[in-house]
Amino acid sequence: MNEVLPAPRLTLRGITKRYPTILANDAIDLTVAVGEIHAVMGENGAGKSTLMKIIYGVTRPDAGSIEWEGRLVSISSPAEARHLGIGMVFQHFALFETLSVAENISLALDERITPAALAPRIRDVAQRYGLPIDPARLVHSMSVGERQRVEIVRCLLQSPKLLIMDEPTSVLTPQAVQQLFATLRRLAGEGMSILYISHKLDEIRTLCDNATVLRAGRVSGTARPREESNASLARLMVGSDLEEQTLIPREAGEIRLELKDFSMAARDPFGTSLQHIDLAVRAGEIVGIAGVSGNGQAELLTALSGEALGAHGGSISLCGQAVDALGAAERRRIGLGFVPEERLGRGAVPAMSLTDNALLTGARAGMVGHGLVKRSVARLAARATISDFQVKCASELSAAERLSGGNLQKFIVGREIRLAPKVMLAAQPTWGVDVGAAQLIHHALIALRDSGSAVLVISEELDELFSLCDRIAVLTAGRLSPPQPRAQLTVEAVGLLMTGTRESAHA
């Protein structure tokens, strides 16, 4: 007699979801077997998050069906999803900073159990899977890696049969990534199915059994990652080959940005203090700073941009001038450009038009005269930015919030570059941006460098830094390692430098 194969854990057929401005999911099919690690790949904006929200019951699909272990189901809330046996570890942790680990998990579980009664169970699961955490600790005192452990333990406490992991490694050091993979393999070995959302090709090829690739809301293909190369997987994601970046080595010119023994206490009680930072960026070079977020990047950027003024040790100078006491507007006048990490709300005012957003940093470029706004000049600048940087929008009158992430980023990068800054700061310049826009931004930054500007890029993506930078340094717990020429570094070496973080004690 033939053995009946167990039904797949999860089957999605024809899932469709429409939002007012976009068709997020278009007739998506997906199947995950018992004990399988299944990758869901795609760029930002491809529809992965929406699909996961549907599986986890946060949203309902407009069309299509879901089968769980062979039965048709309707998942109308996260509680129902958990009841079925689906657990989800979000990319952005769903944790309350002012509450303890046990309180957080108590809120997230469906059964009503007091934090006190929960504590021993937390310790038990944490130990069993090698994820040590202390139930009484307040979340705001924990590192990012530790917080992720809390999230995973939370899921595991409900004995899920399907675990969804949404971009789990974007906040981890390379070593912590390996630990996570070990945990996941162990879980899969016990029969748990895992949906692994990511756009990181190397990881997927290492970890996952199967992959479903999404592009622009549709399934563009399926694959067995171990049998593919990065190039072939990328082709499925973007439809064309990834371009190889080549930097022409240059003679760097005079020092444009210099930090000497710079220290600054964190203003935010949850922040990181900067300590004894030495950094010099020269004209005609790109220096990169690597590090997982939470190690002082935000503090370093606001110290450099002039948004954080105040007591500090050491000195900052721009183009040879001491700027310690100068604010953001004055630093721009000296020649600083800045692409911040947050687009909407910081790099651009959401409800204002692109023209008005050009005004934001364009005061010294002729857009303001005698205290009066010269809208015509701003409009021309906005139009030029839109055309030079291929920003897809209705016109320069479109509100910033109506542009997609990639297009808004192109606009902001373009706006800053067009001001011909002598020093350019770029924070996570291609975060959440599709491959085409990312390439354009990278080319623009390289062109800026070639034209003689000093460029500083702070990024979590080692690939990006390795393709863009002449020299790379690592920021850990507020301290900066001495920048080294890219040619002398490897990903592993940088990863090791990054483990000066707090979590290395437990790592």
């Binding site: 946060v58 996260p78 509680a79 769903a94 007091t114």
Partner: protein
């Protein structure tokens, strides 16, 4: 200054503090859920009128207080529908609620101007009241005063030891995360706001039936705003609300009894004291932005969109 004077001062302080305690504790609960309700003054006035009107008409203070609770909750319901369900700007809506409460209470209270009322009676606690010194001082207050202390204990316990308190705190820190976890954000906020309305109603009732037992337009004279300031002063912790309220009660009474202390300051200047004190207190608390950051509910004043 003799013992009687001292007792009068202390009694006066407690009585002055009681409506502040009710209003501020209720607002604290609302703000811990992330909702800033600037309409406390309006809710207090409507509660004051409701209590007065019903007590005078029915002769029953209990019914009067119940009416005040209902009136306060109705006002709070309007606010909740607008800010929690329809997501209107909380500052503007709270102001609208106050203006509306001022107008509504003035409008509906015209019949009750100048009417006398048999105010609330003291309820000396049997046995305890006869303890020397402490007896007359602490145990001969009216039921509402005891109620305010009880309310403090209840709220403190609920916030820190119960699940509903945990959910409230979570919602106040991040409604979007709470929602993602499947917690009832909208319901929690509704309940918190309605609770604030109920206590503001009681606060107003105390004003019109105990403190100055009568009804005039604008009876609360800004106490609703002081209650709001108290919540900030207390950095959203119930015990500090209690202490702050007594502090303010003290300032208010001092101003009334200044002559007794031998001070000859014009009465208008003395009347400014509570308001000046509020400003001073706010400055002292707010200047330390770290404390504020750690204690203020992170989502305070921001609208929450469940499905955007």
């Amino acid at each position: 200054m003799n013992a009687e004077f001292l007792i009068a001062i202390i009694t006066g302080t407690v009585v002055a503090a009681t409506p502040l305690i009710y209003a501020a504790l209720g607002e604290l609960v609302a703000e811990r859920s992330g909702v800033l309700n600037l309409g406390v003054e309006g809710m207090m006035l409507v509660g004051a009128l409701a209590a007065f009107a019903v007590s005078v008409s029915t002769g029953s203070l209990v019914l009067g207080y119940l009416a005040a609770v209902c009136a306060g909750m109705l006002m709070a319901l309007i606010f909740a529908v607008l800010t929690v369900s329809l997501q209107t700007n909380q500052v503007a809506t709270g102001l609208a609620l106050t203006l509306f409460g001022l107008g509504l209470s003035a409008f509906m209270g015209r019949k009750f101007l100048g009417l006398p009322i048999a105010g609330i009676h003291a309820l000396p606690l049997p046995g305890l009241r006869d303890i020397p010194i402490a007896g007359p001082l602490l145990f001969r207050f009216d039921p509402a005063v005891y109620g305010s202390i009880l309310l403090y204990f209840i709220i403190d316990r609920v916030l820190t030891r119960t699940r509903i308190g945990l959910i409230l705190r979570a919602v106040g820190e991040s409604p979007s995360i709470a929602h993602a976890l499947g917690q009832p954000v909208i319901q929690t906020r509704y309940l918190a706001v309605l609770f604030g309305g109920a206590t503001s109603g009681i606060a107003g009732a105390y004003l019109s039936t105990a403190m100055t037992p009568m009804w005039v337009e604008g009876l609360s004279a800004g106490r609703g705003w002081i209650a709001l300031a108290l919540v900030v002063f207390a950095t959203w912790k119930p015990l500090r609300v209690l202490l702050g309220a007594y502090l303010f009660g003290g300032v208010t009474i001092l101003q009334l009894h200044a002559q007794g202390f031998g001070l000859s300051v014009p009465s208008e200047i003395l009347s400014m004291l509570p308001y000046v004190a509020t400003i001073v207190v706010l400055v002292v608390i707010c200047r330390d932005s770290k404390t504020i950051r750690l204690n203020q509910p992170a989502s305070l004043g921001k609208s929450f969109h469940p499905d955007v």
